[in-house]
Amino acid sequence: MEQFITTLFNGLSLSSIILLTSLGLAVTFGLMRVINMAHGEFVMIGAYMTYVVQQIFVKFFPESVRDIYYIVSIPAAFGVAFLFGSLLERFVISRLYGREIDSLLATWGISLILQQAARSIFGTQGVNVTAPSFLKGGIEIGGCTFSYNRIFIFVMVLLCLLMVWVIMYKSNFGKQMRAVMQNRPMAQCMGINSRRVDNITFALGSGLAGIAGCSVALLGSIDSTVGQSYIVNSFMAVVLGGVGKLAGTVLGSTIIGSASIFTENYTSSTIAKAIVLLIVIVFLQKRPQGLFVIKSRNLDE
């Protein structure tokens, strides 16, 4: 029983990280239909920003306040990834709308450039961040230990989810964003500057990947390929959940994360990946639209 609960906790923990990376993808891929192969590198940028902020705190701040570096690193990671995302959209993606294969190839190239840039700046060896003292240790319930940093990631995911929901459904920008994604020419005829909306939407998705990088930094070593390990699962989560649906992304991430950990528990990590991939392929054969389907009388897609 204890092992089951621990496995479940680890599964949910992995799900929450997948969800954090998927949230950004749900925006860029789910809403904008841009297959951004460099999304993992925005996770990497977020992770390295956490490291950079930590180094700044170690160098310039007294020990008593060093723990807050992690809190500072979250908006920093978001901001830098947002900026990179905005630049990528402005100079590359915006020229390739409607050309999925071209944008896939271009972003793959950008992904390689960013990885090499990271290796040039930070070296080929992985770097580590020290978890702040308030995230060290864990809470023990019934013989199971729940680590604080994983609980913190849960909370961070929930806050990000809330933020995305508020932006999408409660703000004027969210209304503009949904209008542009549903019918671009008509949104323009409503007085919406769709190019500006595209740019901010893409940057927002990238910024969310940056926050995911912050959480990934707590769990292990950071190197130039740190984002790559999550990106396949994240794409699967968005497609499984149903492209364009936030609730679908949440459910898709939970299923992929939990299934990975549970199958890994009884097999090996390689076999687990293969099994999860197989399950997703079979599921999508039966239900290509994913778990959540958008129904409408005149939806032409």
């Binding site: 949904r178 209008a179 020419p185 005829c189 919406i192 500057n193 939806l299």
Partner: protein
């Protein structure tokens, strides 16, 4: 109010409208009619900035807008109801109407008279736009175009695929917005009886050009009918 002069427009290599010139005087209901494929919708898309217009001039209230993107043209006071309605299917009826406030930065309040014109809409406020019937979607599209108090409203075949009783309602709504609010109307149609009932001035288009112009009362209806069926 709206002045189109020597406008050309192309789909790929083929010229769809050719040196087109006409104007829509302030406060009038003007209709542009013609058979399928003569370039009526392209004309409206040219006015809205949705297709390229390499030559000519499109003036709104004396301001040249031929080089402006669509979102800036709308801010000059144009409400657009496209062919096929193009409501946002995954948004609620309320959200669709409120999107009409975007030319004012999404701020302000939807004018109450819109709900008097289309009393069905508040009843369905929480429903998804895509779940409404064709006639209800048409009313929603007109309401959305009126939300930001436009100076002119441009309607592209508002009777297409709509049941007769709702066509009557739409005709009445067009006349009311013109009478109550003084909003100028440019109406593209193929349904001649609807045009004769509602429009004051009529332009007939053929092969991308205006071939006939006249007031509703002075125009020879048989000539117009012939031009429409030739």
């Amino acid at each position: 109010m709206l002045k189109i002069q020597n406008v050309d427009s192309y789909y790929g290599e083929s010229c769809v409208i050719n040196r087109l010139s006409f104007d829509v005087p302030k406060g009038k209901i003007v209709s542009l009619i013609g058979r399928n494929g003569v370039g009526k919708t392209t004309t409206l898309k040219s006015i809205m900035g949705l297709v390229k217009t390499p030559t000519g001039s499109i003036m709104m209230d004396g301001q040249e807008m031929i080089k402006m993107p669509a979102y800036e043209r709308v801010r000059l006071g144009i409400g657009y109801v496209p062919q096929g309605r193009d409501i946002f299917p995954q948004m609620t009826v309320q959200e669709n109407i409120e999107l009409g406030l975007q030319p004012k930065g999404g701020k302000g309040k939807v004018p109450d008279y819109i709900y008097d014109l289309f009393p069905i809409l508040p009843k369905f406020a929480k429903r998804k736009g895509g779940d409404l019937s064709g006639g209800q979607q048409q009313q929603l599209a007109i309401a959305r175009a009126l939300a930001a108090d436009p100076k002119i409203i441009i309607l592209d075949e508002p009777t297409e695929g709509i049941q007769p009783s709702i066509i009557q309602d739409i005709g009445a709504a067009i006349r009311k917005i013109n009478e109550w609010k003084g909003i100028t109307v440019l109406l593209v149609e193929q349904y001649l009886d609807f045009v004769l009932e509602n429009a004051e001035d009529i332009y007939v288009m053929e092969k991308g050009e205006i071939v006939f112009k006249g007031g509703r009362n002075e125009a020879d209806h048989e000539t117009i009918r012939m031009l429409m069926t030739e």
